[in-house]
Structure formats: C-alpha cells, structure tokens
C-alpha cells in the first residue's frame, strides 16, 4: 500500500458523472490521476498510475463489468475500490462482494456518503 500513490482513479462510462466525482474528490484534497470508461482501460490506467483508491462503476462500456476490473486491479496493484452503482440487484451486490470492496455506494451518492467512504478507505487528513 505504501508503494501506491495518493491518487484516485475513476472508472465510469458516464463522462458527466466522472466530472462530478472528480470535482468532489478534488474538493477533498485528493488528486484524480485519470478516468476510464471500460474495465480494460481502467486496469491499464491503474497499472500506470498505481492509485491508492479506485471509484468503480458497475456497468461499463465493453463486455467486462466493474467487478472484472476491480478483481484484476486488486490482484495486480492492490488498490482500494469503492463501488458506485445505480443497481442494487441482489445479483449485482453478490458479484461485487466477490471482490473486496471498501464500500458500496448507490447512486445518487451524496457528498457526505462519498466523503465518509473515502475517509474510511484511505483516510482524509481534514482536506
């Protein structure tokens, strides 16, 4: 974990949501190192930037979903993952639990929920 940078990677196929999340994360004093709309690109960027935290959407462009990406990232890099999903289907939640999520947030996510989850995952130093 100490090798990872205090950066946040955002994986979501909706650009406006990526922008909104980015703004909120930056308001918390963190750096967003990049964003991806597919699982494969997310894994690639995670490998490139070594982020401490990934905000992961469940539904992504392409064949793979957020759990596929999160599992790959968890195994190769070890970043913490917070899932942000619009669905709370039991099947979706069960699939998310296959990974080792730091938190599962359901859209729309309030600023408070996001802050609390990020703080629990990597610790916010009052920023």
């Amino acid at each position: 974990m100490s090798d990872l940078k205090r950066h946040v990677l955002i994986v979501d196929d909706d650009f406006l949501i990526v922008m909104g999340l980015t703004e909120q994360v930056e308001q918390m004093g963190l750096t967003v190192c990049g964003s991806a709309s597919t699982a494969d690109r997310g894994v690639e960027l995670a490998g490139l930037h070594q982020p401490m935290l990934v905000l992961m959407d469940m539904r992504l462009d392409g064949a793979k979903d957020g759990v596929d990406a999160a599992l790959a990232i968890y195994e190769t890099i070890g970043s913490k993952v917070i899932f942000i999903t619009g669905s709370q289907d039991p099947s979706t939640v069960v699939r998310i639990r296959e990974d080792h999520p730091s938190a599962i947030l359901f859209k729309p996510v309030s600023n408070l929920q996001l802050r609390t989850a990020i703080d629990a995952a990597i610790g916010l130093d009052g920023g």
Binding site: V18, G20, S87
Partner: protein, 512 residues
Amino acid sequence: MTVWQWLFNPAGSGAGLGPLSGRPDALPLAGADVVSGLALLAIALALIVFFRLRPRLRGLGYLFAALVVGSALGHFAAAYTFRSPALGIELVIKLATAIITAGAAVAAWVLLPSITSAPLSSQLASRNAELSATVDARTAELLAANARLIESMATNALVHQAMARSEAQYRVSFEAATVGKVQSDPKTGVILRANLAFAAMLGYEPHEVVGRSGWELVWPDDRAEGQTAFARVTSGELVAYVREKRFIRQDGTPVWARVSANIVRVPGSDLPDITVAVIENIDERRKAQAALDVTRRELEDVVVQRTAALVQRDLLLREVYHRVKNNLQVVDSILVMQAGRLSDPEAKSAMASLRGRIYALGLVHHQLMGSADLRTFDVAPFLRELSSNILDGGASPRVSLDVRADQLDVGLDFAIPLGMLVTELVTNALKHAFPGGEGHIEVLLSRNSDGTFALVVSDDGIGYDCAVGQPGASAAGLGSKIILALVNQLKATMDVQSDQGTRAEIHIKAAA
C-alpha cells in the same frame, strides 16, 4: 325137450310136483298168491311214482320196485304151479327176484349213509328256527339302517337347502351387484362367470364374455404390467391384486376400471383354484381427473407465463430505476460542478438544497429497487436515512435527530412528495432554528385509528418569525412554496406552530 316145455311142462322136470292140484285147500292158497302178487304190483307202481319225484334215490327206488315186481311175479308163478307144476318159470322168476333183491340189499346198504345224512324233520325244524332268528335279526338291522338312512337323508336335505340358500344369496349378490364381478381361471385367465355390471361396462352381455380370456379384454398397453402384478399374487407374494387399468369396450374405446382380485386356493393347498374379482367403473372419475390435469397444466402454463412476464417486468423496472438513479447522479454531478464555480454563499446554499432534493428523489428509487415487489417499501427506514443524510450534510454535529415512523408500505407516488416534504422541513429547521448550532429535530409519522396519517416535524429551536408561505428570504421562500405544493399533492392539511421551537403538523388522509 324145448325151452317152452322146460318152462311150462310139468312132466319135463317136476313130474312129481303136481300133487297139490288135487287138494281142496289148493285153491285158496293160489288165491292168496294172486292177491299178494297184485298188491305187490300196486306197491311197485306206487314206489315208481314216489321215486320219480326223488331224483337222488330214484335208482334205489326203482330197484325196490323191480324187487317188488319180482316178488309179485313169484306169487303169480306159485299160483300157477298149483294147477300145473311149472318149475322152470318159477325158477327163472325166483332167480331174477333173488338177484334183484340182493342188488337192492347191496344198494340199500351202500346208499344208507347218504340217505341217513339227509336232515330229519326235527333237525329241519331247529334249523328253521335258527334261520328265522337270523332273518329277524337282519330285518331289525335293516330297519335300523333304514331309519338312519332316512335321518341322514333328512339332514342332507337340510344341508342341501342351506347350501342352496347360500348359493342363491351369492348368485343374487353376484348377478345383481352394481359393480362388476367376475370369476376366472387363475391359470388361463378365462372368465368362468361374469355379472351384468361387468359385461355392460364393456358393452357386452354376460354370456358373451364368459369363456373369453379376461386379459384379452384389457387395454393392450395395460396388459403386461397387469399380468406381472397378477403373477405375484398367484405366487402368493402379494395378497391381493388391486390396480387401476383400462379395458376395451366392444366399440374399441377404452374404459378405466379399478380391479380388486383375490385368488381362492384349493382347500388344504396353495394351488390357485379360482380368481374372484370386483371391477369398479372409474371412467368418469378418471376423465374428470384428466380434465382437471389438463386444466391444472394450463393454469401452470399461465402461471409460468405470468411469472416470466413478471420477471421481465421486474427486470424492466430495475432497469428504469437504475437509469433514473444514474441520471440523478448525472444531474448531481452537474450541480457539483456548477456549485464549484459559484462564489456567492447564498447561491452555493441553493445548490446544496437542490442536491438534497435530488438525493431524496434518488433515495425513493433506491428503496423501491430494494423492495420485494419493486412497487412499495417501508417508509420508516427511508425517512431515517433521508433525515440523517440531511442532518450530516448540514455539518452541524451538535444537532440531534429522532425519527419515529409506524410501519407503512408506501409507493412511489406517495413516497416522493412525502420524502421531499421531510427534506424541506428538516432542511428548513437545520437552516433557521439553531443559530447556536445546537438543538434537536424530531420527525414523526404515525397512523391514526381512522386510517389517516400524521407527519410531524418539530424542533426546539428559535422558531419562525414568518409563517410558511409568506414572502421572506428567497431560499426559504422557495422552500415554503415547495412545501405547500407537496402538501396539496398529498391532499393533506398543514398546521405550523411556532411557540417553543417550530412544529409542522401535516394531516394526510390516506397513503396513496
């Protein structure tokens, strides 16, 4: 001298024998000889007649008769010699008589033992008595036997009568039964006896099925199984044969029947003697059952289709809710970005209020998505989560919150205005009631006994200066407008009291 002379000429041989011819007593002597001779002839005749009837002694009798005849001839000859001495003839007669007499004597002595052995009349009488006694005894025995026979016949007649009655009763119960009854040969299956009900079930007369194999009348598909089962009954493995199977009617159509059969064994052995079967017509029940099965299958199909439709509907609903939430997240993202570019605190606050409202909308969909029927959810946890999120978002750690709600399942149409109403009221309280940053907010939703609901949002803050709906601060103004609109939408009435803190009491007629 000739033979004749020798016989009858006195001068020939007995010249001196004629001295009596001249004597006076010669005549009576000759007469006595003649009478004796005649009497002897009569006796001889009587002997002949007597012995002709006694075959056993006939020879001896005739011998005696010849002897007597000889004696008679001797007397005649003696009488003749008185007139003229005819010694020759007399000699011949006497010699013949002597021979015959000697023979008779011999025969008499020879035959004596056999003659004396013949029963005497006294002996006969005693034997007769014995015989009579025997006959009497036998007669008595016969009478007794006869009596026994008569008695036995009477008993037999009773037994026969009882058997006949039993047979008659059985026949009536067999023939007149409304269920089919059949007796058959366990080895061949040939029907020995069948009643009207059985024959009629198949469209036959009883005599038309008697003599046929019962298996022949069974529907081909049901035959092998039935025979296998029956073999187990014949072997004694099973006590009775009970099966539901089809028979073939005369017109070739199947008819369902329930067969219960038992095998009567030869007395004192295990050998099957006769099969006794009761055949019940269950065609109607079977048909009803089949119709029921068809109906049930159709219903099941409908259920499957409906279930599939419901699953499809659920999928669609989830998808819709998902998209609604995603879109709300997009709107929220825009608001976040917009707020980040504003410097005016009032404008920032307005943006924050907007985000709160959007969060309320999203939370309703979130609750719906997590509910079992995707249509209704319990309002209590929803209000709790909604209120606490507003409170925490307000960054006033010293304001406490208490949410109490009766269990109430609500739908989208009721939950959205209710949720937004709570959002506005709690946000208002948080914004205006506690200038010192400390206080208590209470949210209460209760169900009244008349089916109406009361939503109460109260605080222990400083209270309002201006009633809700009055023109005031711009943000509060919008909030008040929204509150009034939501109250109207819920077809509710609202009372606001502002004595010690503020208390908004909203009466809702019914949960939509």
